[in-house]
Amino acid sequence: MAKVKTQKKAAAIDMTAMCDVAFLLLTFFILTATAKQPEPLPVDTPSSTVQTKLPESDLATLTVGKGKVFFGVTGKEVRVRTLELMGVKYGVAFSPEERQKFSLIDGFGVPMANLKQVIAMTSTERNQKDLQPGIPKDSLDNQLKEWIYNARIATKEIAGKELKVAIKGDAKQEYPEIKKVMDILQDQQINQFNLVTGLRGKDF
């Protein structure tokens, strides 16, 4: 029968469905990807072959570089609570707007006296190079210790977990500074911490 000869060679495949799926996936990955936040103190971490991932929550990151220490903690509620506790300790009152703004700051490195100014700045201004002097950590004015201590209290209150501490040091940072930070942690009986490193090939 001549009627059966209906097979035509398809010159173009219909790609509409494929395109739909591709864009759906694309949207998903774009939305789940977390944009890299600009860091106030960029550090070049040394690399290691160890492949443990850094915990994502209840983590305080101490960034050490150029002799300065910056502090950051994960979780908005924890940040706000830590700020409140620090405010009580140093007699600084923070308005609800300031708390809200502070909860969006990933890391900072200023003494308590200048914290209000830094909170008032925009993100670009804040992350200018050499703007923030680092958190004081001398024995006379050990604010870093207080920040860690209060962040631990805040994490315990809100998440009911122990705060984990990560040290993110610059590769060129000399050992005594790292040692100072470790000593501050050890004074609070934090004997277990993570060192943030980059990835290195197996056959190093």
Partner: protein, 183 residues
């Protein structure tokens, strides 16, 4: 392939023959799909790779009373001390500083240097002690001039060589002198 019909070819009324252009309803999506998949690949790879790596480090409990100096006696033939100096200098010795069983010897970081020594000690120490549980103990002593990178490198060597016991200890004056002494 993707064509857009612009204009009707004059749009002469009454002339039925000119209306022969069919609307090209199919747009070629190949390039679009290519681009979409390229972006998908990019986002997939970056989301999983951007998570920072980390290294666990446990330190011994600090004694709040510094006068109560509790020293732990370690068998000389099991303890290896690694001194980290400036300019990526590494020296190691076995046993005690005053009476070293081996060394002090200067080595470099990496596969050909300190790792060779560590691996050979990892096999020789249990043989000497005669007990597989009594393995090597490494004492890491970073000097003031050493960098954070040196420390991470050495800790990484510990992880690579699977050294069972290691500790970071303060350096002594004599050992600083040894590091500063030219070869």
């Amino acid at each position: 392939m993707a064509e857009l019909n612009t204009g009707d070819g004059g749009g002469k009324k009454g002339d039925g023959k000119v209306r022969s252009k069919k609307g090209n309803s199919k747009v070629d999506l190949t390039a679009m799909v290519d681009l979409a998949f390229l972006l998908i690949t990019f986002f997939m790879l970056t989301t999983s790779l951007s998570k920072p790596q980390s290294m666990d480090l446990g330190m011994p409990d600090k004694d709040p009373d510094p006068t109560k100096n509790t020293t732990i006696d370690v068998a000389d033939n099991r303890s290896m001390t690694i001194l980290l100096g400036d300019n990526d200098q590494v020296k190691w010795y076995m046993g005690q500083f005053a009476t070293p069983l081996e060394g002090p010897e200067q080595v470099v970081y990496g596969k050909e240097g300190i790792r060779k020594e560590l691996l050979s000690k990892m096999t020789s120490v249990p043989q000497v002690t005669g007990d597989p549980k009594k393995g090597l103990i490494v004492i890491i002593k970073p000097s003031k001039k050493s960098t954070y990178k040196n420390l991470v490198d050495i800790l990484d060597e510990m992880a690579i060589c699977k050294v069972p016991t290691y500790a970071i200890v303060d350096i002594t004056k004599e050992e600083v002198d040894l590091l500063e002494k030219p070869e």
